[in-house]
């Protein structure tokens, strides 16, 4: 079977024009800016984020809603890192088995991280996406920041 190559400049230009037209539909909504909520180290090295409301979100989001989200996240991280009888027991048993149980079972921290992921997904669907915002799970940023992406208003309709 022989293949045919068509040497025609007009077809390429035509194709380019249509592909450029098609491309915006395949791209994500346009990102206007990103806001980073930094960690709050006043209580030590535990995972806690600042609840100060950033000025960039004033036009999009209610302050109370934002504080509630961050406070819930802080509470969840505190639950993950809580020192108590249960965590000590888990740690002690792990020590006896030379920490090999960490290879087999899910730790308490990992279970809470999944809970946090579900909470963030839920918040994005109910609160942030309708306002053209997107919360990124802090674990994807090394637990350094809570990243809030602000999308341009006009591209909300074509978002996923």
């Amino acid at each position: 079977m022989f293949l045919y190559v068509r040497k025609h400049p007009d077809v390429l230009a035509h194709l380019n024009k249509h592909l450029n037209f098609l491309r915006p539909h395949l791209k994500q909504p346009t990102v206007s800016s990103k806001v980073f909520i930094q960690r709050d180290y006043s209580s030590g090295t535990i995972c806690k984020f600042q609840t100060k409301f950033p000025s960039e979100l004033e036009s999009r989001l209610d302050k109370r809603q934002f504080e509630e989200t961050i406070q819930t996240l802080n509470n969840l991280y505190a639950e993950a890192e809580k020192l108590g009888g249960k965590s000590y027991l888990e740690g002690f048993l792990a020590c006896l088995t030379a920490y090999t149980i960490f290879l087999c079972m899910e730790t308490h921290y990992e279970k809470v991280l999944q809970k946090i992921a579900r909470y963030i997904k839920d918040q994005n669907e109910k609160v942030y996406a309708p306002r053209g915002l997107l919360l990124t799970d802090p674990i994807e940023r090394g637990l350094r920041v809570v990243e809030i992406t602000i999308f341009e208003d006009r591209s909300i309709g074509s978002g996923r």
Partner: protein, 379 residues
């Protein structure tokens, strides 16, 4: 349309470099293998077993450590255990075996796990931090050291900016120059285990050195007992009688003697660090010793030895932040430079067709595979 020129191409000739557009098409047709994050990790670490195992670039003297442990334990099991089982109790090899397994497992866990590496800041994060600190438009040749002060439990702590990772280091985090990573609760880079010791693997390291000191003390004790008992049980009346295994036992004794003191000393030092919730780094620098005369206390200590120990050794296990086995997002791995026509052929054609358009467009889209072979005539 203009008159078209058609050129027949023999598929067998496709392997020759005379037809670059077709070669490009061949490459694009192969689906890109999704890459894992460890393959693009910026630090100087090496990964094995598809990202499950992480080690520093230089393994240091880890093979020596393993070799010494294996050799000492091997000699013990071969030369001492048979005698001691016969004259004392058969529990000795059982205890020795259990300790040996414990030591090796904790050593491998210390060497092969993520010590608490902080992933580097994304470009957006780095730009945001730059914006916040560089408001003065500093034009001096050398930028001043960037620090930020936070108050932790009524103690002022300075956070330094890491120029490599482009972020302010959290408290107790330090950048390891050997691994080129910021490590949380950085203790030290241990060449004996060939990895950094940090937040995530400190408990493995501590358990390793404590169990190793118990093992060496145990072997030392058994060897001494063996020597003492073999002198008593020796049927030879000659006092200068030398058995062939005596040399081996004596060598073992020498190794054990030096190991016991150095490892016991190290275990004792780290027990002190655990009890006061300090890291080796902080202890060496004297961060909380108040050397300048001011009242400084360790803001991270729980002020209770038992709670400090429990926190360090039995506290919740923090997760790995680098997600080395996660997959890279497809838009990062599929990005290709080049001509406009290079839309990935794996893109859902149904999506494109669903957009609709003119019959001309439909013709173009139906013939996309063939039109991709098009190469503009050089003018």
């Amino acid at each position: 349309m203009k008159t078209c020129e058609y050129q027949q191409i023999d598929p067998l000739a496709l392997s020759t470099p005379t037809l670059p557009p077709y070669d490009g098409r061949e490459k694009r047709e192969k689906p890109r293998r999704p890459r894992r994050k460890w393959e693009v990790f910026p630090g100087k670490n090496r990964f094995y077993c598809d990202g499950r195992i992480i080690v520093a670039r230089q393994s240091g003297v880890l093979p020596l450590t393993l070799g010494l442990i294996l050799a000492t334990s091997g000699l013990f099991f071969i030369f001492d255990c048979p005698f001691l089982v016969k004259h004392l109790t058969s529990c000795i090899p059982v205890i020795g075996g259990a300790l040996f397994v414990f030591v090796v497992i904790t050593l491998l866990q210390t060497s092969f796990s993520d010590p608490g590496i902080l992933p580097r800041a994304t470009p957006d994060e780095a730009a945001d931090i730059e914006k916040q600190i560089d408001n003065t438009g500093n034009s001096s040749y050398r930028p001043p050291p960037r620090t930020k002060e936070v108050v932790i439990n009524q103690q002022v702590v300075k956070l330094k900016y890491c120029f490599t990772c482009k972020m302010f280091r959290p408290p107790r985090t330090s950048h390891c120059s050997l691994c080129d990573n910021c490590v949380e609760r950085f203790d030290h880079h241990c060449p004996w285990v060939g990895n950094c010791v940090g937040k995530r693997n400190y408990r493995f390291f501590y358990t390793f050195i404590v169990s190793l000191s118990i093992l060496t003390a145990f072997i030392f004790g058994c060897v001494t007992t063996h020597l003492a008992l073999s002198t008593c049980f020796c049927p030879c009346s000659d006092r200068n009688c030398r058995h062939s295994s005596d040399i081996n036992i004596q060598n073992l004794l020498v190794i054990c003697f030096f190991s016991v003191w150095s490892i016991l000393g190290l275990s004792g030092f780290h027990t002190y660090l655990v009890a006061s919730n300090l890291t080796t780094n902080e202890d060496i620098k004297g961060s909380w010793s108040g050397k300048s005369g001011e009242e400084v206390t360790n803001p991270y200590s729980h002020k209770n030895i038992l709670i400090n120990c429990c926190t360090m050794l039995c506290g919740p296990m923090p997760p790995s932040l680098i997600d080395r086995r996660g997959f890279l997002p497809m838009d990062e791995s599929v990005q290709t430079a080049g001509t406009d026509i290079e839309l990935p052929t794996v893109a859902p054609k149904s999506e494109i067709n669903a957009v609709g358009g003119s019959p001309q467009l439909a013709f173009v889209l139906r013939n996309l595979p063939f039109l991709c072979l098009y190469s503009p005539k050089p003018t």
